[in-house]
């Protein structure tokens, strides 16, 4: 075969030589294998797989697409302030935010639904998202809710719950039978929803307390890892909202009350860390830990400025719960990676979309006599 050939003859593929054809065939097989493995890894060969895009698609199917807004917790307002650490957290975590001192915080209050124009009285869960920014560039972001337990244990269950909550095209309302079937298949969700309903929501954002629900791990300077959950506990006294308001009053009454409250005096919350004991579930956000677990108050959050969502403020932050500093680590809670993934898709979609002003606007100048309406129970707050 290798006798004298004219120069370049080995590069000629025509007429085809059996050996060349075999070589091309082998090359093709290797390429098909690599490309196929790539397509499989990217989920292109498994249309039923629950991907992060399909997860956010379901939020959009449930709430509609509202360009420029978060796909969940869409209606919100920006706040800023600072966190004063008392140093008590350093025995649990080496994160800079827990060293004694003060760090700036950029936050966002929101209601837990993907409809940015929903009247406040049709919403239930309130949330607070926070970004702690100690010097040095590390950051701690957390998104917390004023409920005692999360309704689902896994992202798959969340996806099913959204499906069960969707309006039936025939009636325009959710099908109770589908919700029954979901709860029968997920007793942990039925239990968590019972806990959520057992305690009335507070009258507003200011006197609500917000829970991490997911477990995390604090890692201290000695490398000791401790399972934790955290709460931002309102200094304003809790007042139950009973019964839930249903009259069509100010559609933004929750936010307007918050703005009015903040224009009187800064808001304060105590950051309380609950320490899990061995055996306490860290992978199940539907289960609160027993009430007798050790709690450590590690500092106070003060929020003293409120502004409408706009370019470069809280609007453009993805409050991904896995943006964590050294010293705070994820637990084995399956919701954490899923939240991180789904938030990323929501953020990427809305970042590229045209923005519409939020329903929640903060009056430019506010005189003490011209405040937004304050709900009666809010007047009982501390100064």
């Amino acid at each position: 075969m290798n006798e004298q050939q004219p120069p370049g003859a080995r590069y000629r593929l025509w007429p085809p030589h059996p050996r060349a054809l075999a070589g091309l065939g082998a090359t093709g097989l290797v390429l098909a294998g690599v490309a196929g493995a790539f397509a499989y890894t990217g989920g292109f060969l498994s249309p039923g797989k629950l991907t992060q895009s399909r997860f956010i698609d379901r939020f959009q199917a449930l709430n509609g697409v509202h360009p420029g807004f978060r796909r969940n917790h869409a209606k919100g307002v920006c706040v800023t302030g600072s966190f004063a650490s008392n140093g008590a957290g350093t025995r649990l975590s080496r994160a800079a935010v827990f060293a004694p001192g003060s760090v700036p915080v950029i936050g966002r209050f929101a209601v837990g639904i993907g409809k940015p124009f929903m009247p406040d009285n049709e919403t239930e869960v309130r949330s607070l998202a926070l970004s702690f920014r100690p010097a040095g560039g590390e950051e701690w972001r957390t998104g917390i809710n004023d409920i005692p337990a999360f309704p689902v244990r896994t992202p798959e269950a969340f996806y099913e719950l959204m499906g069960a909550s969707a309006a039936d095209p025939a009636t325009g309302k959710p099908d109770p039978a589908r919700m029954q079937a979901f709860l029968a298949a997920h007793p942990e969700s039925a239990h968590a929803l019972g806990l959520i309903r057992a305690r009335p929501f507070s009258t507003g954002f200011a006197n609500a307390s917000y829970n991490s629900l997911d477990a995390f791990r604090f890692v201290n300077a000695g490398g000791i890892s401790t399972p934790v959950r955290w709460t931002l506990a309102a200094v304003d006294p809790y007042v139950a909202q009973t019964p839930a308001p249903d009259a069509p009053r100010d559609p933004n009454y929750l936010f307007d009350a918050l703005i009015a409250r903040m224009q009187q005096a800064p808001l304060q919350y105590r950051l309380v860390v609950t320490i899990g004991r061995p055996g306490d579930p860290t992978n199940d956000a539907t289960q609160p830990w027993p009430a007798d677990r050790e709690r450590v108050e590690v500092g106070t959050l003060t929020l003293d400025h409120v502004e409408a969502e706009g370019p470069g403020n809280c609007r453009d932050i993805n409050y991904d719960p896995l943006v964590l500093p050294d010293g705070i680590a994820p637990s084995d809670d399956p919701l954490l990676s899923a939240r991180s993934a789904a938030y990323s898709v929501s953020f990427t979609r809305r970042a590229g979309e045209e923005k519409t002003p939020s329903q929640v606007q903060v009056p430019e100048t506010q005189t003490p006599s011209a405040q937004a309406p304050v709900t009666p129970s809010d007047t009982g707050k501390g100064s």
């Binding site: 120069p7 370049g8 003859a9 080995r10 590069y11 593929l13 050996r19 060349a20 075999a22 070589g23 091309l24 082998a26 090359t27 290797v30 390429l31 690599v34 490309a35 493995a37 790539f38 890894t41 990217g42 989920g43 797989k49 629950l50 991907t51 992060q52 895009s53 997860f55 040095g136 560039g137 590390e138 950051e139 992202p155 370019p311 470069g312 453009d316 932050i317 993805n318 991904d320 896995l322 943006v323 500093p325 050294d326 994820p330 399956p334 954490l336 990676s337 899923a338 991180s340 993934a341 789904a342 990323s344 953020f347 990427t348 809305r350 970042a351 590229g352 979309e353």
Partner: protein, 179 residues
């Protein structure tokens, strides 16, 4: 026979980066499709991307110091052009994909955590529209890198199995190159 080989350091860089880039492409396409594996894959993706960016710079310098062996004298012009163009494209993408990734995280104002408290500074100011554009560019460029990688693999195997001109052996040989 003209059995010239790449210098040993060049071959080491090539195969190290081949493994890293192939792993990176699979990590990238896998993590954006996954809920459960997203976080741990992302925590590998960022430092691995930075390592690739550093190594491609080392490699470009090394290429000037230790030039590659010449292509076979009888290789036709169109194949030479394809070889040089695809290598140029591979280098461009090996720089572009990690740099766009870094820029996109900067525009989104994500902390760019490598490991523990180690992080990179931002290289762009915060801008959500920049982020959206760069995020798409990162995907498009990464898919282009995968396509050029496939073409490179196809060419390498064709040199090995069909042309049998020593080009594949010039990189695939594990023996020390003859001076």
């Amino acid at each position: 026979m003209t059995a010239q080989r790449f210098p040993a350091f060049s071959r080491l860089l090539h195969w190290l980066m081949a493994a890293m880039i192939l792993a990176m492409l699979f990590i990238g396409i896998g993590m954006v499709a996954s809920l459960a594996d997203y976080h741990w894959l992302l925590s590998i993706h960022r430092p691995l991307g930075v390592a690739i960016l550093v190594l491609v710079a080392v490699r470009l310098v090394n290429r000037q110091i230790n030039p590659p062996p010449p292509l076979p004298a009888d290789m036709p012009a169109h194949l030479r052009i394809a070889a040089h163009a695809s290598h140029g494209l591979l280098y461009a993408l090996m720089f572009a994909v990690p740099l766009v990734g870094w820029a996109m995280l900067s525009a989104a104002r994500y902390p760019i955590v490598l490991y523990g408290a180690w992080q990179l500074p931002p290289i762009l100011p915060q801008n959500d529209m920049f982020y959206a554009w760069l995020r798409s560019a990162h995907t498009v460029l990464a898919l282009a890198l995968f396509a050029v990688f496939l073409a490179h693999l196809a060419a390498a195997l064709t040199h090995a199995f069909v042309f049998r001109d020593g080009v594949f052996q010039s990189m695939a040989s594990v023996r020390r190159a003859k001076a």
